[in-house]
Protein backbone atom coordinates (compact mmCIF):
# COMPACT_ATOMS: atom_id res chain seq x y z
CA UNK A 1 0.00 0.00 0.00
CA UNK A 2 1.20 3.46 -0.91
CA UNK A 3 1.67 6.06 1.84
CA UNK A 4 -1.24 8.33 2.71
CA UNK A 5 -0.71 12.00 1.97
CA UNK A 6 -4.17 13.16 3.02
CA UNK A 7 -6.34 11.64 5.68
CA UNK A 8 -9.62 13.12 6.87
CA UNK A 9 -11.42 11.51 9.76
CA UNK A 10 -15.04 12.33 10.39
CA UNK A 11 -14.59 15.90 9.15
CA UNK A 12 -17.55 18.22 9.46
CA UNK A 13 -17.79 21.92 8.65
CA UNK A 14 -20.77 23.93 9.80
CA UNK A 15 -21.09 27.59 8.78
CA UNK A 16 -22.81 29.33 11.65
CA UNK A 17 -25.48 31.87 10.80
CA UNK A 18 -29.16 32.52 11.27
CA UNK A 19 -29.61 29.10 9.72
CA UNK A 20 -26.48 26.97 10.28
CA UNK A 21 -25.31 25.29 7.09
CA UNK A 22 -23.45 21.99 7.17
CA UNK A 23 -21.15 22.22 4.17
CA UNK A 24 -19.15 19.06 4.86
CA UNK A 25 -20.75 16.27 6.80
CA UNK A 26 -18.70 13.53 8.52
CA UNK A 27 -16.31 12.94 5.66
CA UNK A 28 -13.66 10.22 5.83
CA UNK A 29 -11.27 10.36 2.93
CA UNK A 30 -7.81 8.94 2.37
CA UNK A 31 -5.70 9.98 -0.55
CA UNK A 32 -2.50 8.15 -1.36
CA UNK A 33 0.68 9.44 -2.83
CA UNK A 34 0.52 9.66 -6.65
CA UNK A 35 -3.25 9.69 -6.94
CA UNK A 36 -5.10 11.77 -9.55
CA UNK A 37 -8.36 12.42 -7.74
CA UNK A 38 -11.38 14.44 -8.75
CA UNK A 39 -13.83 15.54 -6.09
CA UNK A 40 -17.05 16.09 -7.92
CA UNK A 41 -20.58 17.09 -7.09
CA UNK A 42 -23.16 19.72 -7.79
CA UNK A 43 -22.76 23.34 -6.65
CA UNK A 44 -23.00 23.64 -2.88
CA UNK A 45 -22.07 20.01 -2.32
CA UNK A 46 -19.03 21.02 -0.23
CA UNK A 47 -16.19 20.41 -2.74
CA UNK A 48 -14.42 23.72 -2.22
CA UNK A 49 -14.96 23.68 1.55
CA UNK A 50 -13.40 20.21 1.75
CA UNK A 51 -10.48 21.28 -0.42
CA UNK A 52 -9.99 24.45 1.67
CA UNK A 53 -9.87 22.38 4.86
CA UNK A 54 -7.39 19.92 3.35
CA UNK A 55 -5.29 22.90 2.27
CA UNK A 56 -5.38 24.44 5.75
CA UNK A 57 -7.25 27.50 4.48
CA UNK A 58 -10.27 26.67 6.60
CA UNK A 59 -10.64 24.72 9.84
CA UNK A 60 -13.14 21.92 10.35
CA UNK A 61 -15.86 22.28 12.98
CA UNK A 62 -15.11 18.73 14.07
CA UNK A 63 -12.97 15.82 12.98
CA UNK A 64 -9.32 15.75 12.08
CA UNK A 65 -7.23 16.29 8.98
CA UNK A 66 -3.76 14.89 8.62
CA UNK A 67 -1.42 15.84 5.83
CA UNK A 68 1.61 13.58 5.54
CA UNK A 69 0.89 12.51 9.10
CA UNK A 70 0.76 16.07 10.49
CA UNK A 71 -2.46 17.06 12.22
CA UNK A 72 -3.56 20.48 10.91
CA UNK A 73 -5.98 21.24 13.76
CA UNK A 74 -3.27 22.03 16.28
CA UNK A 75 -1.43 24.46 14.06
CA UNK A 76 -1.53 28.25 14.51
CA UNK A 77 -2.31 30.53 11.55
CA UNK A 78 1.36 31.22 10.96
CA UNK A 79 2.25 27.53 11.23
CA UNK A 80 -0.46 26.75 8.70
CA UNK A 81 0.87 29.38 6.28
CA UNK A 82 4.33 27.90 6.64
CA UNK A 83 2.94 24.40 6.22
CA UNK A 84 1.13 25.36 3.03
CA UNK A 85 4.28 26.96 1.71
CA UNK A 86 6.29 23.78 2.19
CA UNK A 87 3.79 20.99 1.55
CA UNK A 88 0.86 22.11 -0.60
CA UNK A 89 0.60 23.52 -4.11
CA UNK A 90 -2.51 25.47 -5.03
CA UNK A 91 -4.20 26.06 -8.37
CA UNK A 92 -7.24 28.32 -8.22
CA UNK A 93 -10.25 28.60 -10.45
CA UNK A 94 -9.44 32.11 -11.64
CA UNK A 95 -5.66 31.60 -12.01
CA UNK A 96 -4.82 34.13 -9.26
CA UNK A 97 -1.36 34.96 -10.49
CA UNK A 98 0.40 38.05 -9.18
CA UNK A 99 -0.43 40.52 -11.96
CA UNK A 100 2.70 42.65 -11.54
CA UNK A 101 5.09 39.72 -11.89
CA UNK A 102 6.11 37.88 -15.06
CA UNK A 103 5.42 34.16 -15.60
CA UNK A 104 8.97 33.44 -14.47
CA UNK A 105 8.67 35.62 -11.36
CA UNK A 106 5.28 34.14 -10.47
CA UNK A 107 6.73 30.64 -10.67
CA UNK A 108 9.82 31.68 -8.75
CA UNK A 109 7.86 33.47 -6.02
CA UNK A 110 7.24 30.49 -3.73
CA UNK A 111 10.83 29.33 -4.02
CA UNK A 112 11.93 32.82 -2.99
CA UNK A 113 9.69 32.57 0.06
CA UNK A 114 11.41 29.25 0.80
CA UNK A 115 14.80 30.96 0.48
CA UNK A 116 16.01 28.64 -2.27
CA UNK A 117 19.18 29.85 -3.96
CA UNK A 118 19.02 31.66 -7.29
CA UNK A 119 20.75 29.00 -9.36
CA UNK A 120 18.34 26.28 -8.23
CA UNK A 121 15.40 28.63 -8.69
CA UNK A 122 16.37 29.58 -12.23
CA UNK A 123 16.86 25.97 -13.27
CA UNK A 124 13.57 24.81 -11.74
CA UNK A 125 11.56 27.73 -13.17
CA UNK A 126 12.90 26.99 -16.63
CA UNK A 127 12.15 23.29 -16.30
CA UNK A 128 8.62 23.85 -14.99
CA UNK A 129 7.66 26.49 -17.54
CA UNK A 130 9.01 24.28 -20.32
CA UNK A 131 7.00 21.38 -18.96
CA UNK A 132 3.79 23.42 -19.11
CA UNK A 133 4.74 24.61 -22.58
CA UNK A 134 5.49 28.22 -21.68
CA UNK A 135 9.26 28.27 -22.08
CA UNK A 136 8.91 31.13 -24.55
CA UNK A 137 6.53 33.18 -22.37
CA UNK A 138 8.72 33.41 -19.30
CA UNK A 139 8.91 37.19 -19.34
CA UNK A 140 5.25 37.81 -20.08
CA UNK A 141 3.01 39.22 -17.39
CA UNK A 142 -0.36 37.53 -16.75
CA UNK A 143 -2.17 40.24 -18.71
CA UNK A 144 -0.11 39.22 -21.75
CA UNK A 145 -1.15 35.55 -21.45
CA UNK A 146 -4.40 33.75 -22.35
CA UNK A 147 -6.54 32.15 -19.61
CA UNK A 148 -5.18 28.71 -20.41
CA UNK A 149 -1.61 29.96 -20.35
CA UNK A 150 -2.18 31.71 -17.03
CA UNK A 151 -3.58 28.51 -15.54
CA UNK A 152 -0.51 26.62 -16.78
CA UNK A 153 1.70 29.18 -15.03
CA UNK A 154 -0.42 28.57 -11.92
CA UNK A 155 0.34 24.84 -12.21
CA UNK A 156 4.05 25.57 -12.62
CA UNK A 157 3.88 27.83 -9.56
CA UNK A 158 2.05 25.16 -7.56
CA UNK A 159 4.79 22.66 -8.38
CA UNK A 160 7.70 25.02 -7.83
CA UNK A 161 8.05 24.22 -4.14
CA UNK A 162 7.96 20.45 -4.78
CA UNK A 163 4.81 20.07 -2.69
CA UNK A 164 3.44 16.81 -1.31
CA UNK A 165 0.35 17.32 -3.43
CA UNK A 166 -1.45 19.91 -5.54
CA UNK A 167 -4.95 21.10 -4.67
CA UNK A 168 -6.79 22.51 -7.67
CA UNK A 169 -10.18 24.12 -7.15
CA UNK A 170 -12.15 24.00 -10.40
CA UNK A 171 -8.97 24.52 -12.43
CA UNK A 172 -10.72 24.37 -15.81
CA UNK A 173 -13.85 26.36 -14.95
CA UNK A 174 -12.72 29.42 -16.86
CA UNK A 175 -11.00 27.65 -19.74
CA UNK A 176 -12.16 26.79 -23.24
CA UNK A 177 -12.11 23.14 -24.31
CA UNK A 178 -8.73 23.32 -26.04
CA UNK A 179 -7.07 24.93 -23.03
CA UNK A 180 -8.81 22.44 -20.76
CA UNK A 181 -7.44 19.49 -22.76
CA UNK A 182 -4.01 21.04 -22.79
CA UNK A 183 -4.01 21.62 -19.03
CA UNK A 184 -5.32 18.14 -18.30
CA UNK A 185 -2.60 16.64 -20.51
CA UNK A 186 0.04 18.49 -18.55
CA UNK A 187 -1.43 17.53 -15.16
CA UNK A 188 -1.85 13.89 -16.19
CA UNK A 189 1.71 13.72 -17.50
CA UNK A 190 3.11 15.26 -14.30
CA UNK A 191 1.07 12.74 -12.34
CA UNK A 192 2.16 9.74 -14.35
CA UNK A 193 5.76 10.64 -15.09
CA UNK A 194 6.73 12.50 -11.94
CA UNK A 195 4.25 11.02 -9.48
CA UNK A 196 2.74 14.37 -8.50
CA UNK A 197 -0.43 13.88 -6.43
CA UNK A 198 -3.35 15.97 -7.70
CA UNK A 199 -6.63 16.54 -5.92
CA UNK A 200 -9.07 18.73 -7.77
CA UNK A 201 -12.63 19.75 -7.37
CA UNK A 202 -14.63 19.96 -10.56
CA UNK A 203 -17.96 19.47 -12.18
CA UNK A 204 -16.44 19.52 -15.67
CA UNK A 205 -17.14 16.15 -17.31
CA UNK A 206 -13.93 16.35 -19.37
CA UNK A 207 -11.94 16.52 -16.15
CA UNK A 208 -13.98 13.78 -14.50
CA UNK A 209 -13.32 11.53 -17.51
CA UNK A 210 -9.57 11.92 -17.09
CA UNK A 211 -9.51 11.33 -13.32
CA UNK A 212 -8.32 7.96 -12.01
CA UNK A 213 -10.35 8.30 -8.86
CA UNK A 214 -13.66 10.16 -8.56
CA UNK A 215 -15.06 11.07 -5.16
CA UNK A 216 -18.64 12.32 -5.41
CA UNK A 217 -20.00 14.63 -2.74
CA UNK A 218 -23.69 15.22 -2.27
CA UNK A 219 -24.90 17.54 0.48
CA UNK A 220 -21.50 17.42 2.12
CA UNK A 221 -21.35 13.64 2.30
CA UNK A 222 -19.40 11.20 0.20
CA UNK A 223 -21.97 9.59 -2.05
CA UNK A 224 -19.50 7.45 -4.01
CA UNK A 225 -15.77 6.83 -4.28
CA UNK A 226 -14.78 5.19 -7.56
CA UNK A 227 -11.26 4.12 -8.53
CA UNK A 228 -10.67 3.48 -12.23
Amino acid sequence: MKELVIETNDVTKVYEGVVPVTAVNHVDLQIENGEFTAIVGPSGSGKTTLLNMIGGLDRPTSGSIKVNGSELAGMSENQLIDFRLKHIGFVFQSYNLIPVLTAKENTEFIMLMQKIDKKTRDARVEKLLNEVGLGDKMNNRPSQLSGGQQQRVAVARALASKPDFVLADEPTANLDSKSTENLLDIMARLNQEEGVTFVFSTHDQRVIDRARRVVTLVDGKIASDERR
Binding site: L57, I81, F90, F92, N96, I98, V100, M113
Partner: protein, 405 residues
Protein backbone atom coordinates in the same frame (compact mmCIF):
# COMPACT_ATOMS: atom_id res chain seq x y z
CA UNK B 1 10.76 40.21 -4.37
CA UNK B 2 8.40 41.93 -1.92
CA UNK B 3 10.00 45.26 -2.73
CA UNK B 4 9.61 44.53 -6.43
CA UNK B 5 5.95 43.57 -6.00
CA UNK B 6 5.23 46.59 -3.82
CA UNK B 7 6.91 48.94 -6.28
CA UNK B 8 5.11 47.48 -9.28
CA UNK B 9 1.79 47.48 -7.43
CA UNK B 10 2.00 51.24 -7.08
CA UNK B 11 1.98 51.57 -10.84
CA UNK B 12 -0.94 49.21 -11.44
CA UNK B 13 -3.32 52.13 -11.20
CA UNK B 14 -1.10 54.88 -12.50
CA UNK B 15 -3.69 57.66 -12.44
CA UNK B 16 -4.69 56.97 -8.84
CA UNK B 17 -1.10 56.76 -7.65
CA UNK B 18 -0.12 59.86 -9.57
CA UNK B 19 -3.02 61.81 -8.08
CA UNK B 20 -1.83 60.91 -4.57
CA UNK B 21 1.80 61.62 -5.42
CA UNK B 22 0.92 65.00 -6.93
CA UNK B 23 -1.34 65.83 -3.98
CA UNK B 24 1.49 64.96 -1.60
CA UNK B 25 4.00 66.95 -3.62
CA UNK B 26 1.73 69.99 -3.88
CA UNK B 27 0.80 69.87 -0.21
CA UNK B 28 4.40 69.60 0.88
CA UNK B 29 5.46 72.26 -1.56
CA UNK B 30 2.83 74.62 -0.15
CA UNK B 31 3.67 73.82 3.46
CA UNK B 32 7.42 73.99 2.99
CA UNK B 33 7.19 77.15 0.95
CA UNK B 34 4.97 78.74 3.61
CA UNK B 35 7.64 77.85 6.17
CA UNK B 36 10.34 79.32 3.93
CA UNK B 37 8.30 82.45 3.38
CA UNK B 38 7.76 82.90 7.10
CA UNK B 39 11.38 82.12 7.95
CA UNK B 40 12.61 84.55 5.30
CA UNK B 41 10.25 87.23 6.54
CA UNK B 42 11.39 86.65 10.12
CA UNK B 43 15.08 86.76 9.18
CA UNK B 44 14.51 90.05 7.39
CA UNK B 45 12.60 91.35 10.38
CA UNK B 46 15.40 90.26 12.70
CA UNK B 47 18.03 91.91 10.53
CA UNK B 48 15.90 95.01 10.29
CA UNK B 49 15.36 95.09 14.04
CA UNK B 50 19.09 94.69 14.64
CA UNK B 51 20.32 96.97 11.88
CA UNK B 52 17.96 99.86 12.22
CA UNK B 53 16.21 99.63 15.56
CA UNK B 54 17.78 97.78 18.42
CA UNK B 55 21.32 96.92 17.40
CA UNK B 56 22.52 93.70 19.01
CA UNK B 57 22.29 94.92 22.56
CA UNK B 58 21.53 98.00 24.56
CA UNK B 59 22.64 99.38 27.90
CA UNK B 60 20.32 101.42 30.11
CA UNK B 61 19.79 102.46 33.68
CA UNK B 62 17.89 99.61 35.33
CA UNK B 63 14.66 101.60 35.56
CA UNK B 64 14.77 103.50 32.29
CA UNK B 65 12.97 101.06 29.99
CA UNK B 66 10.21 100.51 32.48
CA UNK B 67 9.58 104.11 33.49
CA UNK B 68 10.86 106.01 30.44
CA UNK B 69 11.63 108.97 32.70
CA UNK B 70 14.32 111.48 31.94
CA UNK B 71 15.92 111.08 35.35
CA UNK B 72 16.97 107.51 34.74
CA UNK B 73 20.08 108.25 32.73
CA UNK B 74 23.53 106.72 33.00
CA UNK B 75 26.22 108.91 34.51
CA UNK B 76 29.61 108.92 32.88
CA UNK B 77 28.14 106.95 29.97
CA UNK B 78 31.01 107.99 27.69
CA UNK B 79 33.48 105.84 29.59
CA UNK B 80 31.01 102.91 29.62
CA UNK B 81 30.63 103.28 25.87
CA UNK B 82 34.41 103.39 25.43
CA UNK B 83 34.89 100.30 27.52
CA UNK B 84 32.32 98.37 25.52
CA UNK B 85 33.79 99.61 22.23
CA UNK B 86 37.10 97.99 23.15
CA UNK B 87 35.65 94.49 22.87
CA UNK B 88 36.85 92.91 19.62
CA UNK B 89 33.36 91.68 18.70
CA UNK B 90 31.94 95.20 18.83
CA UNK B 91 31.62 96.92 15.46
CA UNK B 92 30.19 100.16 16.76
CA UNK B 93 28.44 101.91 19.62
CA UNK B 94 26.15 104.89 19.79
CA UNK B 95 25.06 106.78 22.88
CA UNK B 96 21.56 108.27 22.91
CA UNK B 97 19.46 110.55 24.99
CA UNK B 98 15.88 109.44 24.63
CA UNK B 99 12.90 111.41 25.78
CA UNK B 100 9.21 111.41 25.01
CA UNK B 101 8.24 114.80 23.64
CA UNK B 102 5.33 116.74 22.22
CA UNK B 103 6.03 117.95 18.73
CA UNK B 104 4.07 120.85 17.42
CA UNK B 105 3.93 122.24 13.92
CA UNK B 106 1.67 124.92 12.52
CA UNK B 107 -0.87 122.18 11.77
CA UNK B 108 -0.62 119.52 14.38
CA UNK B 109 0.63 118.55 17.81
CA UNK B 110 1.54 115.00 18.72
CA UNK B 111 3.76 112.76 20.75
CA UNK B 112 7.13 111.66 19.41
CA UNK B 113 10.16 109.83 20.68
CA UNK B 114 12.90 112.42 20.59
CA UNK B 115 16.21 110.69 20.20
CA UNK B 116 19.37 112.66 20.74
CA UNK B 117 22.24 111.12 18.82
CA UNK B 118 25.77 111.67 17.74
CA UNK B 119 25.11 111.62 13.95
CA UNK B 120 28.46 110.03 13.14
CA UNK B 121 28.16 107.20 15.69
CA UNK B 122 24.53 106.61 14.78
CA UNK B 123 25.30 106.24 11.08
CA UNK B 124 27.93 103.62 11.92
CA UNK B 125 25.57 101.57 14.09
CA UNK B 126 22.14 101.94 12.49
CA UNK B 127 22.99 103.45 9.08
CA UNK B 128 20.46 106.20 9.75
CA UNK B 129 22.22 108.44 7.21
CA UNK B 130 21.35 105.99 4.44
CA UNK B 131 17.66 106.26 5.17
CA UNK B 132 17.49 109.98 4.46
CA UNK B 133 15.35 110.46 1.39
CA UNK B 134 15.16 114.24 1.39
CA UNK B 135 17.48 116.95 2.68
CA UNK B 136 20.77 116.26 4.44
CA UNK B 137 21.88 114.11 7.34
CA UNK B 138 22.49 116.74 9.99
CA UNK B 139 24.18 119.15 7.60
CA UNK B 140 23.19 122.61 6.53
CA UNK B 141 21.36 123.72 9.66
CA UNK B 142 23.61 124.64 12.53
CA UNK B 143 21.10 125.35 15.28
CA UNK B 144 18.77 122.61 16.50
CA UNK B 145 18.46 120.45 13.38
CA UNK B 146 15.86 117.64 13.46
CA UNK B 147 15.52 114.58 11.25
CA UNK B 148 11.90 113.47 10.88
CA UNK B 149 10.28 110.59 9.06
CA UNK B 150 8.39 110.93 5.81
CA UNK B 151 5.28 109.90 7.66
CA UNK B 152 5.72 112.66 10.22
CA UNK B 153 6.32 115.13 7.41
CA UNK B 154 3.00 114.14 5.89
CA UNK B 155 1.10 114.08 9.18
CA UNK B 156 2.45 117.37 10.45
CA UNK B 157 2.58 118.90 6.95
CA UNK B 158 6.29 119.64 7.28
CA UNK B 159 8.91 120.31 4.63
CA UNK B 160 12.64 120.76 4.76
CA UNK B 161 13.60 123.71 6.94
CA UNK B 162 10.10 123.79 8.49
CA UNK B 163 10.10 124.77 12.12
CA UNK B 164 8.75 122.51 14.84
CA UNK B 165 8.59 123.00 18.57
CA UNK B 166 9.49 120.13 20.84
CA UNK B 167 8.31 120.21 24.44
CA UNK B 168 9.75 117.94 27.12
CA UNK B 169 9.95 117.66 30.88
CA UNK B 170 13.40 118.35 32.24
CA UNK B 171 15.01 116.70 35.24
CA UNK B 172 13.11 118.90 37.66
CA UNK B 173 9.81 118.11 36.00
CA UNK B 174 9.64 121.55 34.43
CA UNK B 175 8.26 121.92 30.93
CA UNK B 176 10.97 122.99 28.52
CA UNK B 177 10.46 123.77 24.88
CA UNK B 178 12.81 124.41 22.02
CA UNK B 179 12.33 124.98 18.35
CA UNK B 180 14.01 122.81 15.73
CA UNK B 181 14.29 122.98 11.96
CA UNK B 182 13.79 120.01 9.69
CA UNK B 183 17.20 119.19 8.27
CA UNK B 184 16.19 115.95 6.59
CA UNK B 185 13.43 113.44 6.05
CA UNK B 186 14.04 109.72 6.44
CA UNK B 187 12.16 106.56 5.64
CA UNK B 188 13.23 103.45 7.53
CA UNK B 189 10.85 100.99 5.87
CA UNK B 190 9.44 100.16 9.28
CA UNK B 191 6.14 101.94 9.75
CA UNK B 192 6.23 101.61 13.52
CA UNK B 193 9.63 103.29 13.76
CA UNK B 194 8.64 106.02 11.32
CA UNK B 195 5.53 106.77 13.35
CA UNK B 196 7.41 107.96 16.44
CA UNK B 197 11.15 108.45 16.02
CA UNK B 198 12.49 111.96 15.52
CA UNK B 199 16.27 112.42 15.67
CA UNK B 200 18.08 115.47 17.01
CA UNK B 201 21.68 116.15 17.99
CA UNK B 202 22.48 114.69 21.41
CA UNK B 203 23.98 117.89 22.72
CA UNK B 204 20.79 119.81 21.89
CA UNK B 205 18.55 117.54 23.91
CA UNK B 206 21.09 117.30 26.75
CA UNK B 207 20.98 121.07 26.96
CA UNK B 208 17.14 121.07 27.02
CA UNK B 209 17.09 118.50 29.80
CA UNK B 210 19.89 120.17 31.74
CA UNK B 211 21.99 117.00 31.85
CA UNK B 212 25.73 116.60 31.31
CA UNK B 213 27.30 115.78 27.96
CA UNK B 214 28.31 112.31 29.16
CA UNK B 215 24.85 111.45 30.48
CA UNK B 216 23.01 109.07 28.15
CA UNK B 217 19.84 107.07 28.46
CA UNK B 218 20.90 104.41 26.04
CA UNK B 219 24.00 102.89 24.52
CA UNK B 220 23.29 100.72 21.46
CA UNK B 221 25.96 98.20 20.50
CA UNK B 222 26.47 96.58 17.10
CA UNK B 223 28.33 93.25 17.15
CA UNK B 224 30.00 91.34 14.35
CA UNK B 225 27.58 88.39 14.67
CA UNK B 226 23.87 87.97 15.41
CA UNK B 227 24.29 84.76 17.33
CA UNK B 228 26.54 86.12 20.05
CA UNK B 229 24.13 88.87 21.14
CA UNK B 230 22.81 87.01 24.15
CA UNK B 231 26.17 85.79 25.41
CA UNK B 232 27.73 89.22 24.95
CA UNK B 233 24.83 90.89 26.74
CA UNK B 234 25.36 88.52 29.66
CA UNK B 235 29.08 89.29 29.62
CA UNK B 236 28.55 93.05 29.65
CA UNK B 237 25.88 92.68 32.29
CA UNK B 238 28.52 91.13 34.54
CA UNK B 239 30.89 93.96 33.79
CA UNK B 240 28.22 96.58 34.58
CA UNK B 241 26.10 95.05 37.32
CA UNK B 242 24.37 98.34 38.20
CA UNK B 243 23.06 98.81 34.68
CA UNK B 244 20.70 96.82 32.54
CA UNK B 245 22.23 95.13 29.49
CA UNK B 246 19.73 93.41 27.22
CA UNK B 247 20.09 91.62 23.89
CA UNK B 248 17.82 92.61 21.01
CA UNK B 249 15.58 89.59 21.53
CA UNK B 250 14.54 90.95 24.90
CA UNK B 251 14.34 94.54 23.75
CA UNK B 252 12.01 94.18 20.78
CA UNK B 253 8.58 93.44 22.17
CA UNK B 254 7.42 90.01 21.08
CA UNK B 255 10.51 89.26 18.99
CA UNK B 256 11.69 86.38 21.13
CA UNK B 257 8.23 84.88 20.96
CA UNK B 258 8.00 85.47 17.21
CA UNK B 259 11.39 83.90 16.54
CA UNK B 260 10.87 80.92 18.82
CA UNK B 261 7.25 80.30 17.92
CA UNK B 262 7.78 81.07 14.23
CA UNK B 263 9.36 77.77 13.30
CA UNK B 264 6.87 75.85 15.44
CA UNK B 265 3.97 77.58 13.66
CA UNK B 266 5.46 76.75 10.26
CA UNK B 267 5.86 73.13 11.25
CA UNK B 268 2.30 73.05 12.60
CA UNK B 269 1.10 74.22 9.17
CA UNK B 270 3.15 71.46 7.51
CA UNK B 271 1.79 68.95 10.04
CA UNK B 272 -1.81 69.97 9.31
CA UNK B 273 -1.20 69.58 5.57
CA UNK B 274 0.43 66.21 6.18
CA UNK B 275 -2.48 65.02 8.32
CA UNK B 276 -4.89 65.93 5.50
CA UNK B 277 -2.64 64.10 3.04
CA UNK B 278 -2.38 61.17 5.43
CA UNK B 279 -6.07 60.49 4.98
CA UNK B 280 -5.73 60.72 1.22
CA UNK B 281 -2.91 58.15 1.30
CA UNK B 282 -4.86 55.88 3.67
CA UNK B 283 -7.91 56.12 1.41
CA UNK B 284 -5.91 55.24 -1.68
CA UNK B 285 -4.17 52.32 -0.01
CA UNK B 286 -7.43 51.04 1.46
CA UNK B 287 -8.92 51.07 -2.03
CA UNK B 288 -5.87 49.22 -3.29
CA UNK B 289 -6.18 46.60 -0.53
CA UNK B 290 -9.93 46.17 -1.10
CA UNK B 291 -9.46 45.80 -4.82
CA UNK B 292 -6.81 43.19 -4.27
CA UNK B 293 -8.61 41.17 -1.59
CA UNK B 294 -8.53 38.07 -3.76
CA UNK B 295 -4.90 38.50 -4.69
CA UNK B 296 -3.82 39.06 -1.08
CA UNK B 297 -5.87 36.03 -0.06
CA UNK B 298 -4.11 34.00 -2.72
CA UNK B 299 -0.70 35.19 -1.51
CA UNK B 300 -1.59 34.12 2.01
CA UNK B 301 -2.95 30.82 0.70
CA UNK B 302 0.22 29.93 -1.16
CA UNK B 303 2.39 30.74 1.80
CA UNK B 304 3.08 34.46 2.18
CA UNK B 305 2.98 34.91 5.93
CA UNK B 306 1.26 37.76 7.69
CA UNK B 307 4.45 39.66 8.43
CA UNK B 308 5.28 39.66 4.73
CA UNK B 309 1.75 40.71 3.71
CA UNK B 310 1.95 43.53 6.27
CA UNK B 311 5.40 44.53 5.00
CA UNK B 312 4.22 44.50 1.39
CA UNK B 313 1.35 46.91 2.03
CA UNK B 314 3.57 49.06 4.29
CA UNK B 315 6.16 49.22 1.54
CA UNK B 316 3.59 50.24 -1.06
CA UNK B 317 2.32 53.06 1.16
CA UNK B 318 5.81 54.18 2.03
CA UNK B 319 6.87 54.16 -1.63
CA UNK B 320 3.84 56.22 -2.55
CA UNK B 321 4.62 58.75 0.19
CA UNK B 322 8.31 58.77 -0.51
CA UNK B 323 7.86 59.66 -4.15
CA UNK B 324 5.46 62.52 -3.43
CA UNK B 325 7.32 63.76 -0.36
CA UNK B 326 10.79 64.35 -1.81
CA UNK B 327 9.23 65.66 -5.03
CA UNK B 328 7.33 68.29 -3.03
CA UNK B 329 10.43 69.13 -1.02
CA UNK B 330 12.52 69.43 -4.19
CA UNK B 331 10.00 71.74 -5.85
CA UNK B 332 9.76 73.75 -2.61
CA UNK B 333 13.58 73.97 -2.45
CA UNK B 334 13.78 75.21 -6.04
CA UNK B 335 10.96 77.65 -5.46
CA UNK B 336 12.46 78.95 -2.22
CA UNK B 337 15.90 79.27 -3.84
CA UNK B 338 14.55 81.20 -6.81
CA UNK B 339 12.26 83.50 -4.87
CA UNK B 340 14.96 83.80 -2.20
CA UNK B 341 17.21 85.41 -4.81
CA UNK B 342 14.64 87.59 -6.53
CA UNK B 343 12.30 88.28 -3.65
CA UNK B 344 8.51 88.33 -3.62
CA UNK B 345 7.03 91.78 -3.87
CA UNK B 346 3.90 91.82 -1.76
CA UNK B 347 2.63 94.75 -3.82
CA UNK B 348 -0.27 96.65 -2.30
CA UNK B 349 -0.26 94.42 0.77
CA UNK B 350 3.42 95.21 1.25
CA UNK B 351 2.50 98.65 2.57
CA UNK B 352 0.35 97.04 5.25
CA UNK B 353 3.20 94.69 6.22
CA UNK B 354 5.56 97.62 6.26
CA UNK B 355 3.26 99.39 8.71
CA UNK B 356 3.71 96.41 11.02
CA UNK B 357 7.46 96.52 10.69
CA UNK B 358 7.86 93.79 8.06
CA UNK B 359 9.55 94.14 4.70
CA UNK B 360 7.38 94.70 1.62
CA UNK B 361 9.65 92.44 -0.45
CA UNK B 362 10.14 89.06 1.16
CA UNK B 363 13.12 86.82 0.40
CA UNK B 364 12.07 83.30 1.44
CA UNK B 365 14.71 81.02 2.90
CA UNK B 366 14.65 77.79 4.84
CA UNK B 367 17.37 76.26 6.97
CA UNK B 368 18.54 72.72 6.29
CA UNK B 369 17.31 71.70 9.75
CA UNK B 370 13.74 72.59 8.77
CA UNK B 371 14.05 70.46 5.62
CA UNK B 372 15.29 67.61 7.78
CA UNK B 373 12.42 68.03 10.25
CA UNK B 374 9.87 68.07 7.39
CA UNK B 375 11.47 64.97 5.84
CA UNK B 376 11.18 63.16 9.18
CA UNK B 377 7.55 64.31 9.42
CA UNK B 378 6.85 62.88 5.94
CA UNK B 379 8.45 59.58 6.96
CA UNK B 380 6.39 59.42 10.12
CA UNK B 381 3.25 60.30 8.13
CA UNK B 382 4.05 57.55 5.63
CA UNK B 383 4.47 54.99 8.40
CA UNK B 384 1.25 56.01 10.12
CA UNK B 385 -0.64 56.01 6.81
CA UNK B 386 0.66 52.52 6.08
CA UNK B 387 -0.46 50.88 9.30
CA UNK B 388 -4.24 50.88 8.83
CA UNK B 389 -4.40 49.49 5.26
CA UNK B 390 -1.73 46.93 6.15
CA UNK B 391 -3.69 45.83 9.22
CA UNK B 392 -6.81 45.61 7.08
CA UNK B 393 -4.96 43.29 4.71
CA UNK B 394 -3.84 41.14 7.63
CA UNK B 395 -7.42 40.60 8.76
CA UNK B 396 -8.33 38.95 5.46
CA UNK B 397 -9.21 35.29 5.65
CA UNK B 398 -7.48 33.61 2.70
CA UNK B 399 -10.26 31.13 1.96
CA UNK B 400 -12.92 33.87 1.99
CA UNK B 401 -10.72 36.35 0.17
CA UNK B 402 -10.05 33.96 -2.71
CA UNK B 403 -13.77 33.47 -3.28
CA UNK B 404 -14.37 37.23 -3.65
CA UNK B 405 -15.07 38.24 -7.23
Amino acid sequence: MLVKIAWRNIWRNKVRSLVVIIALALGLWAGTFASGFYEGMMKQKINDVIQSEMSHLQVHDTLFREEMLTKYFMHDATSIEQEIAQDRTVLGTTGRVVVMAMMGSANKNGGVKMIGINPEDESKVTGLNEKVIEGEYFEGIKRNPILISQKMAENYKLKLRSKVVLTVQDLEGEIVAASFRVVGIYKSGNGMVDEVNAYVERSDVQRMLSIESDDYHEIAVLLNENDIAESKAAEFQKAFPNLEVKPWLDLAAGMRYMVEAGQTFSLIIVAIILIALLFSVINTMLMAVMERTKEIGMLMAIGLNRTKVFSMIMLETIFLSLIGGPLGLLVAYLFISTTGKNGIDLGAQGEAYSEMGFAAVVYPELGIETYIIITVMVLVMALIAAIYPARKALKLNPSEAIRKI
